[in-house]
């Protein structure tokens, strides 16, 4: 594991020292010792803090958009060097999607890919840690690694083993792209992908519509519309979100076009019906674009299984149109293209 760390640090250090990238996006160890937090390194010294271990859950592709938001100071020359970014297999698809949609060009991003055997669900790991009565202070020196079916946590020269299935993220159990799809440099050896199946959807698929509605009602009614799922999403980069409009002011001079553009699809108050609208809007906007990184599911503070929505969407899109986003850098968008022979299902 530390070998991987060293490799990442060395690559990032070299890139920054040679000035090949303007900054490098990667993970450093978080304050609690278990998790890792995303950070930006601008100097080789900062790059020495980088970690690459199973705690790196963050999809760094989301932080690429921050670059677009920055306003130049007066007289400042734009920095045209690429952004360095550290990606796992799933994140590389998100980066590829951004390139497909021309948010970034390929040469604007320097991708350091890492093959990934799965990342840990930090809350689950913490719980398991506490259950065993392990010292919390020991997390200062905690090092995580995955070996076969075990997650090995080593600290103070001691080793503690956890079963991989117990502490790993749900999304990693069905991950079909553990190896980066695009990269400039690669860390680690190729990992065997999981089989192409949707075992996580079976339970929901067996339900009747009424049962499903009851399930989602319960889930959506807890939503507080914090919009964390939207903010973390690497595919959500609109300046103004269709569900988060400022209160539209209509005057006598407001043109019909402006009125249409300002239509409110859900109110601000997080009631069940508006939450439903919000999540449906989000789901629809992600159709054919979602890369299934599962970040929305991870960040939800009330634990709504948003991944059930995105996984189902992924399945539908693949079954109906044989389309998958973010696999290469060729521009391609499911809903902006058509085929004469598309299926005709459901039309009267």
């Amino acid at each position: 594991m530390s070998a991987k760390n060293d490799q990442l640090r060395k690559i990032a250090r070299t890139l920054l020292a040679e000035g090949k990238v303007k900054y490098f996006l990667g993970n450093v160890r978080g304050a609690d010792g278990f998790s890792s937090k995303p950070t930006t390194a601008r100097t080789p010294e900062e790059a020495n803090e980088f970690v690459w271990d199973p705690s790196c859950v963050n999809n760094m592709a989301s932080y690429l958009h921050e670059d677009k938001k920055r306003v130049l100071k007066r007289g400042e020359e734009p920095d045209t060097r690429p952004i360095g970014i550290f990606v796992k297999g799933c994140d590389s698809r998100s980066v590829a999607l951004n390139i497909q949609e021309h948010i970034f060009e390929r040469e604007q991003i320097y991708i350091v890919g890492a093959t990934c055997e799965g990342v840990v669900d930090v809350p689950k790991l913490k719980k398991a840690w506490m259950k065993r009565g392990l010292p919390v202070a020991a997390t200062n020196t905690l090092q995580l690694s995955i070996n076969g079916d075990e997650v090995i946590a080593s600290f103070d020269g001691k080793q503690e083993k956890f079963a991989k299935d117990d502490v790993i993220m749900q999304r990693c159990k069905v991950c079909r792209y553990p190896n980066p799809v695009i990269y400039d440099e690669l860390i680690g050896e190729q990992v065997e992908p999981k089989p192409d199946a949707y075992p996580d959807l079976e339970e929901m698929e067996a339900m009747s519509p009424a049962e499903r509605w009851a399930f989602w009602t319960e889930q959506f009614s807890t939503c507080v519309r914090c919009l964390a799922c939207r903010n973390v999403c690497p595919a959500c980069y609109c300046r103004e979100c269709s569900v988060q409009r400022s209160n539209p002011a209509f005057g006598p001079r407001t043109t019909p076009t402006e009125k249409m553009a300002k239509a409110q699809f859900s109110n601000k108050t997080p009631t069940m019906e508006d939450n439903f609208n919000f999540h449906m809007s989000r789901m629809y906007h992600m159709t054919g674009r979602c890369t299934n990184c599962g970040e929305c599911n991870r960040v939800c503070p009330v634990g709504i299984p948003l991944r059930l929505l995105t996984r189902k969407m992924d399945k539908d899109v693949r079954e109906t149109y044989d389309h998958e986003s973010g696999l290469d850098t060729e521009p391609k968008n499911l809903l902006a293209e058509y085929d004469d022979d598309d299926p005709e299902g459901g039309f009267l």
Partner: protein, 148 residues
Amino acid sequence: MTDNNENNENFEPKIIAFLCTWCSYAGADLAGSARIQYPTNVKIIKVMCSSRINPLFVLRAFRKGADGVLVSGCHPGDCHYLTGNYFTRRRLILFKKQLEWVGIDPNRFHMSWVSASEGQGWADVVNKVIDDVKELGPQDEMRRKVVE
């Protein structure tokens, strides 16, 4: 609306239909001028092309209390704008699956192709939609409830 909801026997559904100007609206117009009888539950919103219909419009219609929504456009290949309805087709097929996934009965949301010469076809579509929605009863799931 509220009166209807209390009595399922005499339930008259409110159905919002988004029609494209060139085919479906003209078809509905033809049904009128040919004096073909069909129920009045359908409230028509005319749009220039069926691809103008953002699926969020459908959600908004449900939120405002529609019992059923119908989207209708030209037959594939006949679009006035040449390719508009191909996009509609992809969008709506996927959107309907998504509605089903969260537990909305698929019969609440219908899509159809009606050309300008199909007056009777339009009446048939409307009858089918109304039958389906009547079977389901009033839509209370997505309607925005006002706290009193």
